[in-house]
Symmetry: C2
Subunit: 179 residues, 2 copies
DNA sequence: GACTTATATCTCAGTAGTAAGATTGTTCCT
DNA sequence: AGGAACAATCTTACTACTGAGATATAAGTC
């Protein structure tokens, strides 16, 4: 309910709004969960708005969010099995193969055999990948911090706690379905 | 940092973890924005977890989230111009055409001419669409409420306020790019 | 050691969505 | 009225990603 872009609405006769309102029979009373629905709306919207910031930032370097996510996790955690990355960045099994392929083509990531298990492959950052992350990660962190600047430090702390609880519980009650 | 699925890890020799940790040179100090990054992580994760609930629910009726979003906004607001829907559910201009086409094929939505402006089209719920929403919306609201049950009523209220502020500000500072 | 079950990744077909530009229509200005 | 500028939707080509199944490997059981 706050997504209305101001927009000069030049070519828009006012007939429309009236009509919109006029023929509408009021919704059946689903007031019961109004507050919950509202929370879900603001949660989705906030996430989408911030994601637009992060997408725009990584796009400047020719990366998608998912690609950047892989680079970031490798940058901070070191070599990881493809499946481990998959669980962290929440992408399908086919997706992780595809994404690592593409990062490999770009020369940012390489696959390495896993000594103890010949089914498994590690993804590792190449030197070029590491250099790239070193160069762009700090700016990315700044973009995120900027996008979160609508809250004070204390508010951010509270939000973090609430969202952690919320996410944990929601993930638990979602049965089975990761892949 | 909490996405590790427990998983019985039967076929997984322990060699791997050691190696992972061993060859990893510690990340350069990006402690500066650690709290902000954390908030962004829990925010994304919570949203993703809840979205999985909502997706699973609407999929039972053969709908995608975007399709459901259109039906819902029409259900609650009455006929709307395609552009208005687009701004509300945050999809590209091509996307809204595609989605309304598909809902029209399913017989849930129809296009109607706009009396005052022949470029514009209204989307309206067909009787079948209205019946469907009447039938499935309450259950959907319940699913959402259930997914949010990790927070108490007071916590939800606080979260709503914080997220509204956060989203508003983040949307403002994202220049231009809606389409 | 053969068999069953589980795991890790990959392949491939299909889907949902985006982005850029085309088309058609509207308003403003002279 | 004529033309410039702007707006709403649609078209088309493309991309990222999903999901089901395939392949190869591993571990536990008898």
């Amino acid at each position: 309910m706050s997504a209305e872009t101001p927009s000069k609405r030049r070519g828009r006769p006012t007939v429309r709004a009236e009509r919109s309102a006029a023929t509408h029979t009021p919704p059946p009373l689903d007031e019961r969960y109004a507050e919950e629905l509202k929370l879900w709306v603001v949660l989705s919207r906030a996430t989408a708005a911030i994601r637009r910031h992060t997408e725009a930032d990584v796009a400047r370097h020719g990366l998608s969010i998912a690609e950047f996510g892989i680079l970031e996790v490798l940058y901070h955690k070191g070599p990881l099995l493809l499946g481990e990355i998959q669980r962290r960045i929440l992408v399908s099994s086919g997706g992780i193969t595809f994404l690592v392929d593409r990062l490999a083509e770009k020369g940012l990531v390489a696959r390495e055999a896993c000594p103890g298990d010949r089914r498994a492959r590690y993804a590792v950052l190449t030197p070029a990948g590491r250099v790239l992350m070193k160069r762009i990660f700090p700016g990315h962190a700044e973009v995120i911090a900027g996008a979160l600047a609508g809250l004070s430090r204390d508010e951010r702390r509270i939000a973090t706690k609430l969202l952690r609880d919320l996410g944990r519980r929601a993930a638990e009650s979602a049965a089975s379905g990761t892949v």
